[in-house]
Protein backbone atom coordinates (compact mmCIF):
# COMPACT_ATOMS: atom_id res chain seq x y z
CA UNK A 1 0.00 0.00 0.00
CA UNK A 2 1.45 3.37 -1.03
CA UNK A 3 1.29 5.89 1.83
CA UNK A 4 2.28 9.56 2.11
CA UNK A 5 4.96 10.38 4.68
CA UNK A 6 5.26 14.09 3.98
CA UNK A 7 3.86 16.65 1.56
CA UNK A 8 4.47 20.35 1.06
CA UNK A 9 3.53 22.86 -1.61
CA UNK A 10 6.12 24.10 -4.11
CA UNK A 11 5.82 27.52 -5.73
CA UNK A 12 4.42 26.59 -9.15
CA UNK A 13 1.65 24.02 -9.24
CA UNK A 14 3.35 21.04 -7.61
CA UNK A 15 3.80 19.37 -4.25
CA UNK A 16 6.89 17.74 -2.84
CA UNK A 17 5.70 14.33 -1.68
CA UNK A 18 7.62 11.57 0.10
CA UNK A 19 5.95 8.16 -0.23
CA UNK A 20 6.50 4.78 1.29
CA UNK A 21 5.41 1.35 0.15
CA UNK A 22 3.97 -0.51 3.16
CA UNK A 23 4.13 -4.27 2.68
CA UNK A 24 2.13 -6.13 5.30
CA UNK A 25 2.80 -9.82 5.74
CA UNK A 26 0.13 -12.50 5.91
CA UNK A 27 2.20 -14.66 8.23
CA UNK A 28 0.97 -12.98 11.38
CA UNK A 29 2.35 -10.38 13.74
CA UNK A 30 6.00 -9.52 13.54
CA UNK A 31 8.54 -6.72 13.45
CA UNK A 32 8.38 -3.46 11.51
CA UNK A 33 11.42 -2.99 9.30
CA UNK A 34 12.17 0.24 7.40
CA UNK A 35 14.23 0.25 4.22
CA UNK A 36 15.07 3.78 3.08
CA UNK A 37 17.05 5.15 0.17
CA UNK A 38 17.32 8.16 -2.13
CA UNK A 39 18.56 10.54 0.53
CA UNK A 40 21.15 11.68 -2.04
CA UNK A 41 19.71 12.03 -5.53
CA UNK A 42 22.86 10.78 -7.28
CA UNK A 43 22.98 7.49 -5.36
CA UNK A 44 20.68 5.20 -7.29
CA UNK A 45 21.68 1.70 -6.16
CA UNK A 46 18.85 1.64 -3.64
CA UNK A 47 16.27 2.03 -6.41
CA UNK A 48 16.96 -1.48 -7.60
CA UNK A 49 16.89 -2.83 -4.05
CA UNK A 50 13.57 -1.08 -3.32
CA UNK A 51 12.05 -2.55 -6.47
CA UNK A 52 13.51 -6.04 -6.12
CA UNK A 53 12.85 -6.38 -2.40
CA UNK A 54 9.21 -5.33 -2.79
CA UNK A 55 8.79 -7.85 -5.63
CA UNK A 56 10.23 -10.69 -3.59
CA UNK A 57 8.14 -9.85 -0.53
CA UNK A 58 4.92 -9.52 -2.54
CA UNK A 59 5.48 -12.95 -4.07
CA UNK A 60 5.70 -14.52 -0.61
CA UNK A 61 3.47 -12.48 1.66
CA UNK A 62 2.59 -15.64 3.54
CA UNK A 63 6.23 -15.95 4.65
CA UNK A 64 6.31 -12.39 5.99
CA UNK A 65 5.35 -11.61 9.57
CA UNK A 66 4.85 -7.96 10.40
CA UNK A 67 5.59 -5.06 8.10
CA UNK A 68 8.33 -3.89 5.75
CA UNK A 69 8.13 -0.19 4.88
CA UNK A 70 10.14 0.77 1.78
CA UNK A 71 10.93 4.48 1.24
CA UNK A 72 12.53 4.72 -2.25
CA UNK A 73 13.05 8.48 -2.40
CA UNK A 74 13.58 10.53 0.76
CA UNK A 75 14.81 13.38 -1.45
CA UNK A 76 12.41 13.23 -4.41
CA UNK A 77 13.49 16.55 -5.96
CA UNK A 78 17.12 15.48 -5.89
CA UNK A 79 16.26 12.04 -7.24
CA UNK A 80 14.32 13.46 -10.18
CA UNK A 81 17.33 15.56 -11.15
CA UNK A 82 19.95 12.96 -10.09
CA UNK A 83 21.54 15.70 -7.96
CA UNK A 84 23.27 14.87 -4.68
CA UNK A 85 21.58 17.48 -2.51
CA UNK A 86 18.19 19.12 -2.31
CA UNK A 87 17.87 21.34 -5.40
CA UNK A 88 17.46 25.07 -4.82
CA UNK A 89 19.34 24.95 -1.50
CA UNK A 90 22.34 22.77 -2.46
CA UNK A 91 21.60 21.13 0.86
CA UNK A 92 22.78 17.67 1.93
CA UNK A 93 19.57 16.17 3.35
CA UNK A 94 21.65 13.74 5.38
CA UNK A 95 23.02 16.68 7.37
CA UNK A 96 19.62 17.98 8.50
CA UNK A 97 18.44 15.31 10.95
CA UNK A 98 16.62 15.05 13.32
CA UNK A 99 14.98 18.08 11.71
CA UNK A 100 12.36 20.32 13.23
CA UNK A 101 8.60 20.02 12.63
CA UNK A 102 8.26 23.80 13.05
CA UNK A 103 11.30 24.69 10.95
CA UNK A 104 11.78 25.22 7.24
CA UNK A 105 10.44 22.82 4.62
CA UNK A 106 13.60 20.70 4.65
CA UNK A 107 13.76 20.62 8.45
CA UNK A 108 10.09 19.66 8.58
CA UNK A 109 10.70 16.96 5.95
CA UNK A 110 13.57 15.54 8.02
CA UNK A 111 11.44 15.57 11.17
CA UNK A 112 8.56 13.82 9.38
CA UNK A 113 10.89 11.06 8.16
CA UNK A 114 12.27 10.49 11.65
CA UNK A 115 8.78 10.47 13.17
CA UNK A 116 7.58 7.92 10.63
CA UNK A 117 10.49 5.49 11.09
CA UNK A 118 10.99 5.91 14.84
CA UNK A 119 10.07 2.77 16.75
CA UNK A 120 10.80 0.37 13.88
CA UNK A 121 12.66 -2.75 14.95
CA UNK A 122 15.40 -1.91 12.46
CA UNK A 123 16.09 0.48 9.60
CA UNK A 124 18.43 0.01 6.63
CA UNK A 125 19.54 3.18 4.82
CA UNK A 126 20.92 2.30 1.37
CA UNK A 127 23.43 4.73 -0.06
CA UNK A 128 26.19 4.58 -2.69
CA UNK A 129 29.79 5.72 -2.36
CA UNK A 130 30.85 9.28 -2.94
CA UNK A 131 30.94 9.92 -6.70
CA UNK A 132 34.72 10.31 -6.57
CA UNK A 133 35.43 6.85 -5.13
CA UNK A 134 34.99 3.16 -5.77
CA UNK A 135 34.30 1.28 -2.55
CA UNK A 136 33.79 -2.32 -1.49
CA UNK A 137 30.26 -2.89 -0.27
CA UNK A 138 30.07 -2.02 3.37
CA UNK A 139 27.89 -1.23 6.35
CA UNK A 140 28.98 1.87 8.24
CA UNK A 141 28.39 1.77 11.96
CA UNK A 142 29.08 4.60 14.38
CA UNK A 143 31.33 3.43 17.21
CA UNK A 144 28.97 4.60 19.94
CA UNK A 145 26.17 2.37 18.61
CA UNK A 146 28.32 -0.58 17.55
CA UNK A 147 27.29 -2.95 20.36
CA UNK A 148 23.63 -2.83 19.30
CA UNK A 149 24.28 -2.67 15.55
CA UNK A 150 27.10 -5.12 14.84
CA UNK A 151 25.00 -8.31 15.14
CA UNK A 152 22.57 -6.95 12.54
CA UNK A 153 25.22 -5.32 10.33
CA UNK A 154 26.95 -8.63 9.72
CA UNK A 155 23.78 -10.08 8.19
CA UNK A 156 23.55 -7.72 5.23
CA UNK A 157 25.88 -9.60 2.84
CA UNK A 158 28.38 -6.76 2.42
CA UNK A 159 32.13 -7.26 2.10
CA UNK A 160 32.97 -5.11 5.14
CA UNK A 161 31.46 -3.59 8.23
CA UNK A 162 33.30 -0.38 9.12
CA UNK A 163 33.00 0.78 12.73
CA UNK A 164 33.94 4.44 12.61
CA UNK A 165 34.12 7.44 14.89
CA UNK A 166 31.86 10.36 14.03
CA UNK A 167 33.01 13.90 14.74
CA UNK A 168 30.55 16.26 16.37
CA UNK A 169 30.26 18.30 13.18
CA UNK A 170 28.88 15.30 11.26
CA UNK A 171 26.18 14.06 13.60
CA UNK A 172 23.18 15.31 11.67
CA UNK A 173 22.64 12.09 9.70
CA UNK A 174 19.44 10.07 9.60
CA UNK A 175 21.26 7.07 11.05
CA UNK A 176 22.61 9.07 13.99
CA UNK A 177 19.21 10.61 14.71
CA UNK A 178 17.40 7.26 14.66
CA UNK A 179 20.08 5.39 16.61
CA UNK A 180 19.92 8.12 19.24
CA UNK A 181 16.18 7.38 19.47
CA UNK A 182 17.02 3.65 19.88
CA UNK A 183 15.78 2.70 16.44
CA UNK A 184 18.64 0.53 15.19
CA UNK A 185 19.68 1.99 11.84
CA UNK A 186 22.37 0.67 9.51
CA UNK A 187 23.86 2.73 6.68
CA UNK A 188 24.88 0.55 3.74
CA UNK A 189 27.03 1.64 0.80
CA UNK A 190 26.99 -0.52 -2.30
CA UNK A 191 27.88 -0.15 -5.97
CA UNK A 192 28.69 3.18 -7.56
CA UNK A 193 27.26 6.67 -7.65
CA UNK A 194 24.81 7.23 -10.55
CA UNK A 195 24.76 3.50 -11.32
CA UNK A 196 22.72 0.43 -10.58
CA UNK A 197 24.76 -2.69 -9.95
CA UNK A 198 22.31 -5.56 -9.97
CA UNK A 199 24.70 -8.08 -8.35
CA UNK A 200 25.31 -5.86 -5.33
CA UNK A 201 21.61 -5.09 -5.13
CA UNK A 202 20.65 -8.75 -5.21
CA UNK A 203 23.10 -9.60 -2.44
CA UNK A 204 21.78 -6.75 -0.33
CA UNK A 205 18.18 -7.90 -0.91
CA UNK A 206 19.14 -11.31 0.42
CA UNK A 207 20.94 -9.62 3.32
CA UNK A 208 17.89 -7.55 4.22
CA UNK A 209 15.78 -10.72 4.18
CA UNK A 210 18.34 -12.32 6.53
CA UNK A 211 17.94 -9.35 8.86
CA UNK A 212 14.13 -9.60 8.73
CA UNK A 213 14.46 -13.32 9.43
CA UNK A 214 16.76 -12.66 12.39
CA UNK A 215 14.13 -10.33 13.84
CA UNK A 216 11.40 -12.94 13.41
CA UNK A 217 9.69 -11.52 10.33
CA UNK A 218 10.70 -13.87 7.49
CA UNK A 219 10.04 -17.56 7.36
CA UNK A 220 11.51 -18.37 3.96
CA UNK A 221 15.12 -19.13 3.09
CA UNK A 222 17.64 -16.43 2.19
CA UNK A 223 21.18 -16.70 0.89
CA UNK A 224 24.11 -15.77 3.12
CA UNK A 225 27.53 -14.60 1.97
CA UNK A 226 30.54 -15.23 4.22
CA UNK A 227 30.55 -13.08 7.37
CA UNK A 228 32.07 -9.70 6.50
CA UNK A 229 35.27 -8.51 8.12
CA UNK A 230 34.67 -5.86 10.80
CA UNK A 231 37.17 -3.03 10.46
CA UNK A 232 37.89 -0.06 12.71
CA UNK A 233 39.40 3.35 11.93
CA UNK A 234 42.83 2.19 13.12
CA UNK A 235 42.84 -0.57 10.49
CA UNK A 236 42.35 1.89 7.64
CA UNK A 237 45.16 3.90 6.06
CA UNK A 238 44.21 6.76 3.71
CA UNK A 239 46.60 7.52 0.87
CA UNK A 240 46.52 11.03 -0.57
CA UNK A 241 47.86 12.66 -3.68
CA UNK A 242 50.55 15.20 -2.85
CA UNK A 243 50.55 16.77 -6.32
CA UNK A 244 47.84 18.26 -8.56
CA UNK A 245 47.09 16.46 -11.80
CA UNK A 246 45.43 13.34 -13.17
CA UNK A 247 45.55 10.17 -11.08
CA UNK A 248 46.19 7.05 -13.15
CA UNK A 249 45.77 3.92 -11.00
CA UNK A 250 48.15 0.98 -11.39
CA UNK A 251 46.16 -1.40 -9.18
CA UNK A 252 42.71 -2.89 -9.37
CA UNK A 253 40.06 -1.91 -6.88
CA UNK A 254 39.78 -4.72 -4.34
CA UNK A 255 43.27 -6.08 -4.97
CA UNK A 256 45.82 -6.86 -2.26
CA UNK A 257 49.07 -4.88 -2.34
CA UNK A 258 52.38 -5.05 -0.54
CA UNK A 259 54.09 -2.14 1.18
CA UNK A 260 55.89 -0.03 -1.45
CA UNK A 261 53.80 -1.24 -4.40
CA UNK A 262 52.91 1.41 -6.96
CA UNK A 263 49.25 2.35 -6.45
CA UNK A 264 49.24 4.85 -9.31
CA UNK A 265 50.82 7.99 -10.67
CA UNK A 266 49.80 11.62 -10.78
CA UNK A 267 50.35 12.74 -14.35
CA UNK A 268 50.53 16.14 -16.04
CA UNK A 269 48.78 15.90 -19.42
CA UNK A 270 50.26 19.21 -20.60
CA UNK A 271 53.94 18.51 -20.01
CA UNK A 272 53.50 14.73 -20.34
CA UNK A 273 55.34 14.29 -17.05
CA UNK A 274 54.77 11.99 -14.12
CA UNK A 275 54.55 14.41 -11.21
CA UNK A 276 54.40 11.86 -8.41
CA UNK A 277 54.37 8.13 -7.89
CA UNK A 278 51.89 7.08 -5.23
CA UNK A 279 53.20 4.09 -3.26
CA UNK A 280 51.39 1.88 -0.79
CA UNK A 281 52.51 2.94 2.72
CA UNK A 282 51.42 -0.47 4.07
CA UNK A 283 50.43 -3.83 2.66
CA UNK A 284 46.75 -4.67 2.56
CA UNK A 285 43.46 -4.61 0.70
CA UNK A 286 42.72 -1.64 -1.59
CA UNK A 287 39.15 -1.16 -0.43
CA UNK A 288 38.68 2.39 -1.75
CA UNK A 289 40.14 3.69 -5.02
CA UNK A 290 39.81 7.09 -6.66
CA UNK A 291 37.26 7.00 -9.51
CA UNK A 292 37.26 10.65 -10.57
CA UNK A 293 40.85 11.22 -11.71
CA UNK A 294 41.38 14.96 -11.16
CA UNK A 295 43.33 15.36 -7.91
CA UNK A 296 44.66 18.14 -5.71
CA UNK A 297 47.25 17.95 -2.95
CA UNK A 298 45.36 16.21 -0.16
CA UNK A 299 42.88 14.35 -2.39
CA UNK A 300 42.41 10.80 -1.17
CA UNK A 301 43.29 8.34 -3.94
CA UNK A 302 43.03 5.08 -1.99
CA UNK A 303 42.26 3.51 1.36
CA UNK A 304 44.14 0.40 2.37
CA UNK A 305 42.92 -2.07 4.93
CA UNK A 306 46.08 -3.20 6.69
CA UNK A 307 46.85 -6.73 7.76
CA UNK A 308 44.99 -8.32 4.89
CA UNK A 309 47.81 -9.94 2.94
Amino acid sequence: MIQTVFAATLPVGERLVVHKNRIEGRGGKGPRIAVVTGIHGDELEGQYVAFELAQRLRERLGDLRGVVDIYPALNPLGMSAASHGVPLFDLDLDRTFPGNPNGSLNEALAAAIVADIKGANACVDIQAPDAHLRELSQVRVEEQFSRQLLPLAQLLNTQLVWVHSNPATQRATLAHALNTLRTRTLTVEIGESLHITADSGNWLCEGILRLVEELGGWKSSSIALPTPRVVHDDDVISVTSEAPGVFLPHVEHGSVVRRGDLLGVVADPLGADILREVLAPVGGLVFSLRAQPIVYPGTMVARILGGYA
Binding site: A8, T9, L10, G13, D90, G103, S104, L105, I294, V295
Partner: protein, 315 residues
Protein backbone atom coordinates in the same frame (compact mmCIF):
# COMPACT_ATOMS: atom_id res chain seq x y z
CA UNK B 1 51.28 47.90 4.75
CA UNK B 2 53.00 44.70 3.74
CA UNK B 3 51.43 42.22 1.32
CA UNK B 4 52.09 38.60 2.28
CA UNK B 5 51.32 35.30 0.63
CA UNK B 6 50.00 33.35 3.61
CA UNK B 7 49.20 30.07 1.86
CA UNK B 8 49.76 28.60 -1.59
CA UNK B 9 48.07 25.54 -3.05
CA UNK B 10 49.04 24.02 -6.38
CA UNK B 11 45.91 22.97 -8.27
CA UNK B 12 45.32 21.16 -11.57
CA UNK B 13 44.77 23.16 -14.79
CA UNK B 14 44.84 26.53 -13.02
CA UNK B 15 47.39 28.86 -11.54
CA UNK B 16 48.24 28.14 -7.92
CA UNK B 17 45.74 29.44 -5.39
CA UNK B 18 47.35 32.08 -3.20
CA UNK B 19 45.77 33.42 -0.04
CA UNK B 20 46.99 36.97 0.32
CA UNK B 21 47.23 38.86 3.59
CA UNK B 22 47.76 42.56 4.22
CA UNK B 23 49.68 43.39 7.37
CA UNK B 24 49.57 46.76 9.11
CA UNK B 25 51.53 48.06 12.11
CA UNK B 26 54.27 46.32 14.06
CA UNK B 27 54.78 42.64 13.04
CA UNK B 28 55.97 41.81 16.59
CA UNK B 29 53.22 43.66 18.42
CA UNK B 30 51.62 42.17 21.52
CA UNK B 31 48.10 43.26 20.51
CA UNK B 32 46.88 41.80 17.25
CA UNK B 33 43.67 41.67 15.29
CA UNK B 34 43.03 39.40 12.31
CA UNK B 35 40.22 40.10 9.87
CA UNK B 36 39.11 37.33 7.51
CA UNK B 37 36.84 38.06 4.54
CA UNK B 38 35.26 35.47 2.28
CA UNK B 39 35.83 31.79 3.01
CA UNK B 40 33.11 30.82 0.51
CA UNK B 41 33.00 31.48 -3.20
CA UNK B 42 29.77 33.48 -3.20
CA UNK B 43 30.75 35.88 -0.40
CA UNK B 44 31.27 38.82 -2.73
CA UNK B 45 30.15 41.43 -0.20
CA UNK B 46 32.45 39.98 2.45
CA UNK B 47 35.48 39.99 0.13
CA UNK B 48 34.62 43.53 -0.95
CA UNK B 49 34.40 44.72 2.66
CA UNK B 50 37.78 43.09 3.32
CA UNK B 51 39.28 44.96 0.36
CA UNK B 52 37.75 48.23 1.59
CA UNK B 53 39.21 47.64 5.06
CA UNK B 54 42.66 47.19 3.46
CA UNK B 55 42.13 50.44 1.59
CA UNK B 56 41.01 52.29 4.74
CA UNK B 57 43.79 50.95 6.96
CA UNK B 58 46.38 51.88 4.31
CA UNK B 59 45.17 55.47 4.50
CA UNK B 60 45.11 55.47 8.30
CA UNK B 61 48.57 53.94 8.57
CA UNK B 62 49.96 56.58 6.23
CA UNK B 63 48.47 59.21 8.57
CA UNK B 64 50.22 57.65 11.56
CA UNK B 65 47.07 56.28 13.15
CA UNK B 66 48.39 52.74 13.83
CA UNK B 67 49.43 52.29 17.48
CA UNK B 68 53.08 51.33 18.11
CA UNK B 69 52.33 48.02 19.77
CA UNK B 70 49.59 46.82 17.44
CA UNK B 71 49.29 44.69 14.33
CA UNK B 72 46.35 44.08 12.04
CA UNK B 73 46.25 41.31 9.43
CA UNK B 74 43.49 41.44 6.79
CA UNK B 75 42.70 38.52 4.46
CA UNK B 76 40.04 39.89 2.09
CA UNK B 77 39.49 36.60 0.27
CA UNK B 78 40.44 33.28 1.86
CA UNK B 79 39.04 31.15 -0.96
CA UNK B 80 39.86 32.72 -4.36
CA UNK B 81 39.69 29.31 -6.07
CA UNK B 82 35.94 28.98 -5.41
CA UNK B 83 35.23 32.67 -5.94
CA UNK B 84 36.72 32.69 -9.43
CA UNK B 85 34.34 29.94 -10.56
CA UNK B 86 31.29 31.15 -8.62
CA UNK B 87 30.94 28.10 -6.35
CA UNK B 88 29.87 28.72 -2.76
CA UNK B 89 31.76 25.60 -1.64
CA UNK B 90 34.99 23.93 -2.78
CA UNK B 91 34.35 23.01 -6.42
CA UNK B 92 35.41 19.36 -6.41
CA UNK B 93 33.98 17.96 -3.19
CA UNK B 94 31.55 20.69 -2.07
CA UNK B 95 33.21 21.01 1.32
CA UNK B 96 32.78 24.23 3.27
CA UNK B 97 36.08 25.61 4.57
CA UNK B 98 34.17 27.40 7.33
CA UNK B 99 33.23 24.02 8.80
CA UNK B 100 36.78 22.64 8.83
CA UNK B 101 38.73 24.83 11.24
CA UNK B 102 41.33 24.46 12.69
CA UNK B 103 42.10 22.29 9.66
CA UNK B 104 44.84 19.70 9.27
CA UNK B 105 48.22 20.25 7.61
CA UNK B 106 48.30 16.69 6.22
CA UNK B 107 44.54 16.27 5.85
CA UNK B 108 42.22 16.59 2.87
CA UNK B 109 42.65 19.47 0.45
CA UNK B 110 40.22 21.80 2.19
CA UNK B 111 41.45 20.80 5.65
CA UNK B 112 44.88 21.91 4.44
CA UNK B 113 43.48 25.23 3.22
CA UNK B 114 41.72 25.75 6.58
CA UNK B 115 44.98 24.94 8.39
CA UNK B 116 46.83 27.41 6.16
CA UNK B 117 44.38 30.19 7.02
CA UNK B 118 44.27 29.31 10.69
CA UNK B 119 48.05 29.20 11.11
CA UNK B 120 48.15 32.83 9.94
CA UNK B 121 45.42 34.08 12.32
CA UNK B 122 45.37 31.74 15.31
CA UNK B 123 47.43 33.74 17.80
CA UNK B 124 45.41 36.93 17.45
CA UNK B 125 44.11 38.86 20.43
CA UNK B 126 40.98 39.69 18.44
CA UNK B 127 39.48 37.99 15.40
CA UNK B 128 36.83 39.39 13.07
CA UNK B 129 35.24 37.16 10.47
CA UNK B 130 33.22 38.78 7.71
CA UNK B 131 30.57 36.10 7.64
CA UNK B 132 27.47 35.14 5.66
CA UNK B 133 24.37 33.07 6.31
CA UNK B 134 23.11 30.11 4.36
CA UNK B 135 19.65 31.70 4.33
CA UNK B 136 19.00 33.54 1.09
CA UNK B 137 18.07 37.05 2.07
CA UNK B 138 19.06 40.38 3.54
CA UNK B 139 19.88 41.00 7.21
CA UNK B 140 20.28 43.88 9.60
CA UNK B 141 24.04 44.38 9.81
CA UNK B 142 25.13 42.93 13.13
CA UNK B 143 27.85 41.35 15.23
CA UNK B 144 27.47 37.73 16.27
CA UNK B 145 29.34 36.00 19.06
CA UNK B 146 29.27 32.26 19.59
CA UNK B 147 28.74 31.30 23.24
CA UNK B 148 31.71 29.25 24.41
CA UNK B 149 32.27 30.37 28.00
CA UNK B 150 34.34 33.04 29.72
CA UNK B 151 36.04 34.32 26.57
CA UNK B 152 32.73 34.76 24.75
CA UNK B 153 31.26 36.61 27.76
CA UNK B 154 34.12 39.08 27.42
CA UNK B 155 33.68 39.22 23.63
CA UNK B 156 30.00 40.06 24.10
CA UNK B 157 30.97 43.01 26.31
CA UNK B 158 33.47 44.22 23.70
CA UNK B 159 31.12 43.67 20.74
CA UNK B 160 29.14 46.84 21.48
CA UNK B 161 32.24 48.84 20.48
CA UNK B 162 31.50 48.10 16.82
CA UNK B 163 28.41 50.25 17.42
CA UNK B 164 26.39 48.23 14.92
CA UNK B 165 22.60 47.98 15.33
CA UNK B 166 22.58 44.51 16.94
CA UNK B 167 24.81 42.17 18.90
CA UNK B 168 23.52 38.61 18.66
CA UNK B 169 24.65 35.78 20.90
CA UNK B 170 24.48 32.33 19.37
CA UNK B 171 24.36 29.09 21.29
CA UNK B 172 26.43 26.81 19.05
CA UNK B 173 25.13 23.61 17.51
CA UNK B 174 27.47 20.72 16.77
CA UNK B 175 27.88 21.90 13.18
CA UNK B 176 29.12 25.32 14.39
CA UNK B 177 32.12 23.76 16.07
CA UNK B 178 34.23 23.80 12.89
CA UNK B 179 33.63 27.50 12.15
CA UNK B 180 36.45 30.00 12.38
CA UNK B 181 34.56 32.00 15.04
CA UNK B 182 34.10 29.00 17.36
CA UNK B 183 37.61 27.61 16.92
CA UNK B 184 39.20 31.03 17.35
CA UNK B 185 37.57 31.29 20.79
CA UNK B 186 38.68 27.82 21.83
CA UNK B 187 42.24 28.94 21.01
CA UNK B 188 41.95 32.07 23.18
CA UNK B 189 41.00 34.73 20.62
CA UNK B 190 38.09 37.10 21.23
CA UNK B 191 36.11 36.33 18.09
CA UNK B 192 33.40 38.31 16.32
CA UNK B 193 31.43 37.54 13.19
CA UNK B 194 30.42 40.68 11.33
CA UNK B 195 27.33 40.21 9.16
CA UNK B 196 26.66 42.76 6.49
CA UNK B 197 23.39 43.08 4.62
CA UNK B 198 24.09 40.93 1.54
CA UNK B 199 26.23 38.00 0.39
CA UNK B 200 26.47 37.44 -3.39
CA UNK B 201 26.13 41.07 -4.43
CA UNK B 202 27.74 44.28 -3.23
CA UNK B 203 25.67 46.67 -1.16
CA UNK B 204 27.87 49.75 -0.88
CA UNK B 205 25.95 51.40 1.95
CA UNK B 206 26.18 48.44 4.32
CA UNK B 207 29.77 47.74 3.20
CA UNK B 208 30.77 51.26 4.17
CA UNK B 209 29.05 50.79 7.54
CA UNK B 210 30.95 47.53 8.10
CA UNK B 211 34.27 49.26 7.37
CA UNK B 212 33.39 52.09 9.75
CA UNK B 213 32.30 49.62 12.45
CA UNK B 214 35.59 47.73 12.15
CA UNK B 215 37.55 50.98 12.41
CA UNK B 216 35.58 51.94 15.54
CA UNK B 217 36.33 48.59 17.15
CA UNK B 218 40.05 48.88 16.38
CA UNK B 219 40.00 52.39 17.84
CA UNK B 220 38.24 51.22 21.00
CA UNK B 221 40.89 48.52 21.44
CA UNK B 222 43.60 51.20 20.96
CA UNK B 223 44.95 49.45 17.90
CA UNK B 224 44.16 52.64 16.01
CA UNK B 225 44.83 56.01 17.55
CA UNK B 226 42.09 58.62 17.56
CA UNK B 227 38.52 59.09 18.70
CA UNK B 228 35.59 56.84 17.99
CA UNK B 229 32.78 58.37 16.03
CA UNK B 230 29.48 57.38 14.53
CA UNK B 231 27.51 54.21 14.86
CA UNK B 232 24.61 53.48 17.16
CA UNK B 233 23.99 51.92 20.55
CA UNK B 234 23.63 48.18 19.89
CA UNK B 235 20.72 46.13 21.11
CA UNK B 236 21.82 42.70 22.33
CA UNK B 237 19.85 39.48 22.31
CA UNK B 238 20.22 35.72 21.95
CA UNK B 239 19.38 34.37 18.49
CA UNK B 240 16.71 32.10 19.94
CA UNK B 241 14.73 35.27 20.69
CA UNK B 242 14.26 35.91 16.96
CA UNK B 243 10.70 35.16 15.84
CA UNK B 244 10.27 33.44 12.47
CA UNK B 245 7.47 34.32 10.06
CA UNK B 246 6.89 31.45 7.62
CA UNK B 247 4.68 30.62 4.70
CA UNK B 248 2.46 28.20 6.58
CA UNK B 249 0.00 26.83 4.03
CA UNK B 250 0.95 28.15 0.63
CA UNK B 251 3.69 28.75 -1.93
CA UNK B 252 4.07 31.05 -4.91
CA UNK B 253 5.45 34.54 -5.51
CA UNK B 254 6.55 36.67 -2.56
CA UNK B 255 5.56 40.31 -2.40
CA UNK B 256 7.33 41.88 0.56
CA UNK B 257 6.21 45.15 2.19
CA UNK B 258 9.13 45.61 4.60
CA UNK B 259 12.93 45.58 4.64
CA UNK B 260 15.59 44.88 7.29
CA UNK B 261 15.61 47.51 10.00
CA UNK B 262 11.93 48.44 9.70
CA UNK B 263 9.97 48.60 12.95
CA UNK B 264 6.78 46.58 12.83
CA UNK B 265 3.75 46.16 15.05
CA UNK B 266 2.04 42.95 16.02
CA UNK B 267 -0.66 42.17 13.45
CA UNK B 268 1.00 44.21 10.69
CA UNK B 269 1.05 42.65 7.21
CA UNK B 270 4.69 42.08 6.28
CA UNK B 271 4.05 40.63 2.85
CA UNK B 272 1.82 38.34 0.83
CA UNK B 273 2.19 35.13 -1.14
CA UNK B 274 0.65 35.34 -4.60
CA UNK B 275 -0.67 32.37 -6.57
CA UNK B 276 1.71 31.33 -9.35
CA UNK B 277 -1.05 31.11 -11.98
CA UNK B 278 -3.48 33.97 -11.32
CA UNK B 279 -1.61 36.15 -8.78
CA UNK B 280 -4.41 36.13 -6.22
CA UNK B 281 -3.35 36.47 -2.60
CA UNK B 282 -2.95 32.97 -1.15
CA UNK B 283 -1.53 33.94 2.23
CA UNK B 284 -0.90 37.06 4.25
CA UNK B 285 2.28 37.09 6.32
CA UNK B 286 1.50 38.79 9.60
CA UNK B 287 3.92 40.01 12.28
CA UNK B 288 3.30 37.89 15.40
CA UNK B 289 5.01 40.43 17.65
CA UNK B 290 6.21 44.02 17.87
CA UNK B 291 9.82 44.35 16.86
CA UNK B 292 12.33 45.12 14.14
CA UNK B 293 12.66 43.23 10.87
CA UNK B 294 15.98 41.38 11.21
CA UNK B 295 15.84 39.20 8.06
CA UNK B 296 13.94 39.36 4.79
CA UNK B 297 13.97 36.73 2.08
CA UNK B 298 14.80 38.36 -1.25
CA UNK B 299 14.12 35.55 -3.75
CA UNK B 300 10.78 35.89 -5.50
CA UNK B 301 9.66 32.24 -5.31
CA UNK B 302 8.70 30.82 -1.93
CA UNK B 303 7.84 27.29 -0.86
CA UNK B 304 5.48 26.24 1.87
CA UNK B 305 7.10 26.44 5.32
CA UNK B 306 9.81 28.80 4.23
CA UNK B 307 11.13 31.38 6.66
CA UNK B 308 10.46 34.69 4.93
CA UNK B 309 11.03 37.15 7.78
CA UNK B 310 12.74 37.06 11.17
CA UNK B 311 11.71 39.63 13.74
CA UNK B 312 13.98 40.86 16.51
CA UNK B 313 11.95 41.52 19.63
CA UNK B 314 11.72 45.01 21.02
CA UNK B 315 14.18 45.10 23.89
Amino acid sequence: MRRLTLYKLDVPYRESMRIEGFEFGNPDASVTCSIVGSTRGDEVQQAYIGACIVNRLTQLEERGRMANDARVLVIPCANPLSMNVGNRFWPTDRTDINRLFPGAVHGTTTERVAAGIFSAVRDSTYGIQLASFNQQGDFIPHIRVMRTGEISDEALRLAVDFRMPCVVERVPDDYDKGTLNYVWQTWGTHAFSLYSQTTDRIDHTSANKAVAATTRFLTARKILRGRMSGGVDSISFVDTQLVNVRTEESAGYLESHVKPGDSVKRGQELGVVLDAFDAHVRERLIAPTDGVVFFCRVKDLVQQRMVVFRIAPEL
